[in-house]
């Protein structure tokens, strides 16, 4: 569903992402982890078309993002860490607007259930300025899920959510994966990655350090066996970065 080959992004002389290649299959949750400045957000932004790769190709559902951006983006949903909303549109209007952008024709039928599910029903006519950060985050997620995307990209999905929201978010991610969506999740919360991701992609300074399940990663580093993902992560990213490229 998501196929990345040789992705490279340069900002002048700075290499933000360096020759990154990976795939995310339907039903899979790939955790993207790395220290600050490793290129996680740039990778996600490249995958959704916000940032243009300097080199490499990106395919979403068989559509090349560069050559067929509209077809590729129709299958995508991107949930950034900071909820960006139009301050002059209400909650309900955001959903209707998104429905039109993605050609969701049965929005009338889906709207009440979606608002109710996200506990936004009594805020349907409220503007973003009247919502808490968590509520705005929920609205962004609702907009992202409205068109049943086949590929979902999450950047720090738990930021600003209360405990109930965190539980609901984790459930949403897992359910979407079970329904066949390919999910790429970037987070610093290693316990979240460990809990819900089927595979992990560790990056450092724009380069891939390791990819695979925890067991696959440990094949190349047997001395780390039995340690937590946090220990494995720190060992791979703070040392020389030698890992298992699968």
């Amino acid at each position: 569903m998501i196929r990345v080959a040789g992705l490279t992004k340069l900002y002048g002389e700075l290499v933000a992402v360096d020759d990154l290649s990976f795939e995310v299959a339907p039903g899979e949750v790939l955790g993207l982890v790395g220290p600050n400045g490793a290129g996680k957000t740039t990778t996600l932004r490249s995958l959704v078309g916000i940032v243009r790769p300097t080199r490499g190709t990106i395919e979403i559902g068989g559509h090349d993002l560069e050559r067929e951006p509209v077809a590729a983006k129709r299958q995508l949903a991107f949930m950034p860490d900071e909820p960006h909303l139009f301050e002059y549109l209400s909650v309900e209007e955001h959903l209707r607007f998104t429905a039109r952008l993605y050609h969701v024709t049965d929005v009338e039928r889906r709207l009440p259930a979606l608002l109710s599910e996200l506990e936004l029903a009594d805020k349907a006519r409220a503007l973003p300025a009247e919502l808490s950060r968590g509520m705005r985050q929920k609205l962004v997620i609702a907009c992202g899920l409205l068109h049943d995307p086949r590929a979902l990209l999450f950047d720090e999905p738990l930021t600003g959510l209360d405990p109930a929201g965190i539980r609901r978010m984790k459930k949403t991610i897992v359910e979407r994966a079970h329904s066949g969506a390919a999910i790429l999740l970037s987070s610093h919360l290693l316990h979240l990655v460990e809990e819900i991701c089927t595979r992990v992609l560790i990056v450092k300074k724009g380069r891939m350090v390791a990819i695979g399940t925890i067991d696959q990663i440990l094949v190349g580093r047997p001395e780390l066996r039995g340690k937590s993902l946090e220990d494995i992560f720190l060992s791979l990213t703070e040392g020389d970065g030698r890992g298992n490229g699968e």
Partner: protein, 573 residues
């Protein structure tokens, strides 16, 4: 407090200059910089160019200069009260709110800090304005003009802040607000009443004088402004503009104290209003907390009300093109900021003014003239002011770029939304002017006026579209040099920048109009040769030329599409 503000201003200015210089490493900015330099040279300093230019910021005729300055100031002040916002009187940057609102400072100190901070920007604006209008004729008296304009900008800034606080008090607190602002309201009503009475007495005399000749009319107008109730109402306006229109250093020095007195009174008014606002904030803690939170997030423009926001003017259909949805979004946003009732109130104001000043017989032409003037203002300044397009939406570039919409469709939809609104209001003014003057027999016959109306109706949307596309092209091509989002470049701090943008846009319009005028002209000649009169020839010219302009805009969006595709969030900084 003042020391901290000055330190912040000094360091911000130095760092911003350094960053701008670093940006010149990018070829497009370097090219833009040299084109800008050449443009400045050509406009202001080219050999032989000075002889034809004016010497000072205002006409050398002191009488005319004074009248124009006062009239301009009256219009700005009236617009502030009629159309101004009741939102926050001072725009704070996010960092300023985070540092200042949490610091152990009183609200008064925060506003003093903001006032001091804005002085550098106001000074730069004043320098820009004076250099722009002096057109390269640099001389010693320009320094006095810079000081005078700086003072005038500061005075206007204080006035606008005070007006916003009064409006906020009235809209949020109702009767309590009226009681709190009683003194301000009494002064306002007194000045308005004096202005109205003075205008009623003066208009017949001035009209009579104008019919005798230009000089007679100008002298009568100047005389009327200095006598009776009008002189009382305009006293602060004459005082504020006095130094600007002074013809010598001695006269400047003589007029300066009165201008400073006006600024001081306004300063005290704002500080006093602020105190009242703070007390009211305690009474309405929840509402104010939400407002401050909204302002802190830079999201304070759209007024909220219990039960949710007003329904959009048009519902968004479940099916249709994504571009249509983007247009709907922008129109809805604009209509929530500039409500339709504002247009209705403006129309009522124009009609009442027309009947009050013109009487039964003279109302039609006066309403027609005012409607045409409003149409002109709308066409010229609407595209600069109504920013519900890429200039605002680029703030959410990452959201825009994730949409499954082609870049050129996105640009077209973004630009069309404000174009529709501005053209709609301008059409309203044109039709208003036409119907208001329908029974008037002193004007050219209907057979000529109808095709001229058609010509104007065709030209207005095309011109508006070009102006908006130029604005959007500027923000796409040079995002770091233009203002993005609703909050930036507001107030008189950005006056110089706005003048520059306005001149640049006018220049681009001339370039765009040339081919349209040639093609339209050729078609008009053809129409004329087959027997059409002057009116229909003009209509043919305008309609064909407008079609060419629209086609140019289409080409423009095609060319700008790849620019948006390449634009990245890092390019906005």
């Amino acid at each position: 407090m003042i020391g901290a503000a000055l330190y912040l201003s000094r360091r911000s200015f130095a760092n911003s200059i350094q960053r701008r210089l670093q940006r010149l490493r990018q070829p497009k900015y370097l090219v833009g910089f040299f084109v800008g330099l050449l443009y400045f040279y050509w406009i202001f300093f080219r050999p032989g160019g000075r002889d034809r230019t004016a010497e000072s910021i205002l006409p050398t005729n002191a009488l005319a200069g004074e009248t124009i300055a006062v009239a301009g100031l009256v219009v700005i002040v009236l617009f502030t009260w009629i159309l101004g916002s009741a939102e926050t009187p001072f725009t704070f940057q996010l960092a300023e709110t985070d540092f200042l609102f949490t610091a152990p400072l009183t609200r008064r100190q925060v506003l003093q800090f903001r006032l001091v901070r804005s002085q550098l920007a106001l000074l730069v604006s004043a320098v820009f304005s004076v250099v722009l209008f002096s057109r390269g004729h640099i001389h010693a008296s320009l320094l006095l003009r810079v000081v005078a304009l700086w003072l005038l900008y500061s005075t206007l800034q204080l006035h606008n802040a005070g007006a916003a606080l009064v409006r906020a008090s009235l809209t949020q607190q109702g009767v309590i607000g009226i009681r709190r602002k009683l003194l301000s309201l009494v002064v306002l009503v007194f000045l308005l009443g004096a202005f109205w009475l003075g205008l009623r007495d003066a208009v017949p005399v001035v009209r009579e004088a104008w019919s005798q000749g230009f000089m007679e009319g100008a002298t009568a107008l100047s005389g009327a402004l200095h006598h009776g109730a009008l002189a009382i109402a305009l006293l602060p306006f004459f005082a504020a503009t006095g130094p600007l229109v002074a013809t010598s250093a001695a006269e400047f020095a003589e007029r300066l104290p009165a201008a400073l007195a006006v600024a001081t009174v306004l300063y005290l008014w704002v500080m006093r209003s602020t105190l009242g606002f703070e007390e009211a904030a305690v009474e309405h803690a929840n509402r104010v907390a939400r407002r401050i939170d909204a302002v802190r997030r830079g999201r304070g423009e759209v007024r909220t009300r219990p039960g949710g926001v007003a329904r959009p003017l048009l519902p968004l259909g479940a099916t249709g093109t994504p571009a249509g949805a983007i247009m709907w979004k922008n129109v809805t946003g604009a209509m929530r900021e500039f409500r339709p009732r504002t247009l209705f109130l403006l129309a009522v104001f124009v009609v009442v003014l027309g009947f009050s000043l013109g009487g039964k017989r003279g109302a039609g032409p006066l309403v027609g003239t005012l409607s045409l003037a409003l149409t002109g203002i709308m066409v010229l300044f609407g595209p600069l002011a109504l920013r519900y397009d890429l200039r605002r939406d680029l703030e959410l570039l990452d959201v825009l770029k994730s949409w499954p919409v082609r870049a050129r469709d996105l640009i077209a939809a973004e630009v069309l939304a404000p174009a529709l609104l501005i053209a709609g209001v301008a059409w309203f003014g044109l039709l208003g002017a036409f119907f208001a003057t329908l029974p008037d027999h002193g004007l050219p016959p209907l057979a000529l006026r109808v095709p001229l109306l058609i010509a104007a109706l065709a030209a207005v949307p095309a011109v508006v579209l070009v102006l908006l596309l130029v604005q959007n092209a500027a923000v796409l091509l040079f995002p770091a040099w233009t203002t993005i989002g609703p909050d930036r470049a507001t107030g008189f701090e950005a006056m110089g920048q706005r003048i520059l943008v306005f001149v640049g846009t006018a220049f681009a319009l001339v370039i765009a109009v040339l081919p349209a005028a040639i093609v339209g002209g050729a078609f008009a000649v053809l129409v004329h040769t087959i027997g059409a009169g002057p009116g229909w020839t003009a209509a043919a010219w305008s309609v064909t030329g407008s079609a060419v302009l629209v086609f140019e805009c289409y080409l423009g969006t095609m060319l700008l599409g790849p620019v948006l595709e390449k634009l990245e969030p890092s390019g906005l900084r």
